[in-house]
Amino acid sequence: MNALLATLYQIVQLALVLALAPLLTGWVRLVKARLVGRRGPSVLQPYRDLLRLLRKEVVLARNASWLFRAVPYVMFTAIWLAAGLVPIFTTQLALAPTADLIALIALLGSARFFLALAGMDVGTSFGGIGSSREMMIAALAEPAMLMVVFSVSILVRTTSLAEIADFMMSGAVGLRISLALALIALVMVAIAENARIPIDNPATHLELTMVHEAMVLEYSGRHLALVEAASMLKLLLYVALIACIFAPWGMASAGSGLLAALWGVLVFAGKLAVAGALLALFETSIAKMRVFRVSEFLGGALLLSLLGAIFLYVSRGV
């Protein structure tokens, strides 16, 4: 019975993230537009964009290899699955034990790996620029994220997201410097990984400043649709992750019924709204930084997270 329920929840979650991702992006864009005094497009605009792209024909470079065409599917699946693994409305997920936080980070890593390869496949300079910068960012972002995992899991004695969420909900932790540091680090990573300002500008049209966009410059049609959808999913995923670790309240925990699950969904929607608003606010309030200062930014994140891990010992002998 339980297993069945868990599987059900799992499927629901996979569908849910897919459905909510464009909404979140739309929401962020809307808020940003309002903040700079424009009316801005509708919240549903991203859905329309995706559908339009799907209907367009695909333009491929002559020497594009099979890898180039396979990558969108691969990376989308990887990120989708990863998003499916983060408990958003309940901790009762069938796949929870198959992959923990580390595996999740690795999934995102593989998505990035293949996308970077795709960027180099055609052999244009922009693809190269994009890939190399993306990998540089990742090289610092990943360890920072792992350090966050490290400090959290030392505290919680596990790396399985479901258990972390449960533990955090139990409120046994209380406020901690290390958690605060970890939170900041994770946010910085999230910004970097989702190609947001100040690391990268999702709306830019100046190739030289592009990172993510440069990498996917050669994509079009359904491939581009998948890539775009994947990045929307990724944004959602990070919000969900932060929520799950640092603000898991309202999530349906073990043994609770369907009602709790529904409530969890609503709460999660709320969380998304808040997070999106905050992100938009943040993005409008600062300017993009030079590419080569990114390493310093993320190095900072890495050090913060490391500090967090060390502070754990100082604050209380764990």
Partner: protein, 660 residues
């Protein structure tokens, strides 16, 4: 086997005999090893009437040896397969003989693993170095080979000397060098400490631990590719075996700082190694440096195992050791695979320089596909085997709080950060490798004219590639297989046998309730992607138009080729972030004047701090001393007589003094 190898010069088909025979022999040994391990790995011993007369040669194969025998000989099998094709493709190369030495090299490695007394151990150890040295020299007509070989042999012998001293210390001067004797008598604290340091230096120099790694990226690439694969994928593991054997088995109860040292050096090695790799433009050199990085990871795992063993938490130690051994297997698989692909590329294009490759995915589809698996595996992407090893390692690291020493608790946090950094950089490094070698457009005529290689080579690549996937999806069986070895070393296994453990489920006891399941993960991924593909192709338009990509304004049939990113430019951001301080890496941009039609050139220079700090000075000192000493060659007879006279008087004075 070697004899037929000598005969090989006469008859070309002898190469088939040698490689076939070697493959068969290795396969047999590997099979035997599997059976031993399956049967719980009871040790069987053998005493041959050779070696030191009063102790003779003791041979012993316990679970640990059996495990490493498996690794070595499996590598031997694939290498022989690949090598056969490789030799046929390189029939025309005029160099030293490979055939007679190749089996000897493998034999040497096997001997090291089963030796049970210090003498035969060191004989086999140095014999292994000797054989591989000659194999490296088989390409002695290429300009950089001799220096590489020289540095290699000298470093190898330095390592042997360290081990020699260590064993001398542990065996004391009763002349009983058998491992049993060494085990039975516990060394004094200082002796143990000295022994540990010496062993780490000795085995570390062979494994390529920074700063003793300098020979590795020179020697490994110089050899023929299948030999490079053996040296990088397998011989380094023999060094790891030596570390485990001495530190876990012979030295008895460990002290916590032993592991501490290993953690420190392992972390440095991992990060430095991958950074070196990121700056390399030579395909095989890059792979060799990445070996350094992986060795760093293994050493970290061993260090963890040691500290946990020292703090009497054997279960966690077992987890760490399992991580180390699993990574040993994994690395031997994908590093061999990658070296084979490098060999295939070399065969097809005749170059190892990334700046002259590109677009091979169209010309050599099979190789490219297998290389992709290798690159993904070594970048620790799920659901491949590289990730499983890393996962276990991190689970072990997460147990740091269980340790009593504060320095270790915090130190391990830092080590974890460095390890993560290394892993991420490795991914970047292999994106760079794969993207420039196999993707994009050909950067030279040779790359344009490349052809897929023969079946033997492809088979040699395919086998390890397949295993990379299998071990990634089903890691538990292999861990079960080498569990006896782990139990032998730390008196505990990675799995809790009271709880039920399904064979496709990876949930180590001490991994604080975490688990990983590659099989299900793979299944779900497959499911979702199929779903995706179906949906997309049902709903979306699948019209495709082929066109020329935009070349930033350059004209011509293939404009993008002109503006294609080079490996050096790909590495630039990371170089800027890390390299400029550590390696004094400098970019020299030669930008032509406006109106000048010649292309801009970007050249990169960098130095190896280890070389600058340690090895260059040694060379200088030796030169200086040699010059001073050389004066003695050019003196007159009277002066020589004077020397004699002085020596005599000196001794007489000494006697006089002692007599008073």
């Amino acid at each position: 086997m070697a004899v037929t190898g000598v005969a090989a010069k006469r008859f070309p088909q002898a190469s088939g005999i040698v490689y076939g025979g070697t493959a068969a022999a290795c396969a047999l040994v590997a099979l035997w090893a599997v059976l031993r391990l399956g049967g719980g790995g009871a040790a069987d011993t053998l005493v041959l009437p050779v070696g030191l007369p009063w102790i003779q040669a003791h041979l012993r194969a316990d679970a640990l040896s059996a495990f490493f025998l498996l690794v070595v000989n499996f590598g031997g099998v694939t290498a022989s397969l690949f090598g056969w094709g490789y030799e046929r493709a390189h029939r025309d190369h005029h160099g030293g003989p490979v055939l007679p030495l190749y089996p000897l090299f493998l034999a040497g490695m096997n001997m090291v693993l089963i030796a049970d007394d210090a003498f035969s151990f060191l004989v086999s150890w140095e014999f292994m170095s000797l054989a591989s040295w000659l194999l490296v020299l088989s390409t002695h007509r290429e300009p950089e080979t001799p220096r590489a070989a020289r540095i290699y042999l000298i470093m190898a012998s330095f390592g042997t000397a360290c081990l020699l001293l260590a064993f001398g210390l542990l065996a004391t001067d009763h002349g009983d060098y058998s491992f049993d004797a060494i085990r039975s008598h516990a060394p004094s604290a200082t002796a143990a400490a000295l022994g540990v340091i010496l062993v780490l230096m000795g085995a570390g120099s062979k494994a390529g631990v920074v700063p003793l790694h300098v020979w590795l990226p020179l020697a490994h690439p110089a050899a023929p590719s299948h030999v490079s694969a053996l040296m990088s994928g397998v011989m380094t593991k023999v060094a790891v075996y030596a570390m485990i054997r001495v530190l876990f088995d012979l030295l008895g109860e460990p002290d916590w700082w032993w592991g501490g040292i290993m953690l420190a050096f392992g972390a440095v090695t991992a990060v430095m190694g991958v950074l070196y790799a990121l700056m390399q433009d030579d395909l095989k050199k890059l792979l060799a440096y990445s070996t350094v990085e992986n060795i760093g990871a293994i050493v970290i795992a061993l260090g963890l195992a040691l500290v946990f063993k020292a703090s009497h938490t054997p279960v966690i130690a077992a987890l760490a050791l399992a991580a180390a051994l699993l990574h040993v297997v994994n690395h031997s698989l994908f590093k061999s695979l990658l070296f084979y692909t490098a060999g295939a590329v070399l065969t097809a294009t005749g170059t190892r320089d990334l700046n002259r490759l590109g677009g091979l995915i169209h010309k050599m589809p099979t190789t490219a596909f297998l290389a992709l698996i290798g690159a993904a595996a070594i970048s620790a992407l799920p659901p491949l085997n590289g990730f499983v090893g890393e996962w276990l390692l991190f689970q072990a690291i997460l147990n740091a709080p269980a340790l009593p020493e504060w320095s270790l608790k915090i130190g391990i946090a830092v080590v974890g950060a460095l390890l993560a950094l290394a892993a991420a950089l490795a991914a970047a490094c292999f994106v760079r490798l794969y993207g420039t070698a196999f993707l994009g457009r050909p950067r030279s005529f040779a790359a344009e004219e490349a052809r897929e290689v023969g079946w033997a080579m492809r088979l040699g690549m395919a086998v390890p590639a397949l295993l990379c996937v299998v071990l990634g999806v089903l890691p538990t069986p292999i861990i079960r297989l080498f569990e006896p070895a782990v139990r032998l070393m730390v008196e505990a296994g990675p799995f809790d046998d009271r709880a039920y453990q399904p064979w496709f489920w990876l949930a180590p006891t001490s991994a604080i309730g975490n688990s990983y399941n590659g099989l299900i993960l793979l299944a779900v991924i497959a499911l979702l992607s199929i779903l995706l593909v179906v949906v997309i192709h049902r709903r979306a338009s699948d019209r495709v138009r082929w066109s020329i990509p935009w070349g930033c304004g350059f004209e011509g049939p293939d404009p993008a080729a002109v503006t294609q990113y080079t490996p050096s430019s790909f590495g630039q951001p990371i170089r800027r972030a890390f390299g400029s301080t550590v390696f004094r890496a400098r970019d020299h941009v030669d930008m032509p004047e406006p109106g000048d039609t010649r292309p801009a050139r970007l050249s990169v220079t960098w130095t190896d701090p280890a070389w600058v700090a340690f090895f260059a000075p040694i060379g200088k000192v030796v030169d200086w001393l040699a010059d001073r000493a050389n004066v003695l060659q050019y003196m007159t007879i009277r002066r020589y007589l004077t020397l004699m006279f002085l020596a005599l008087v000196l001794l007489l004075v000494m006697v006089a003094v002692t007599q008073q």
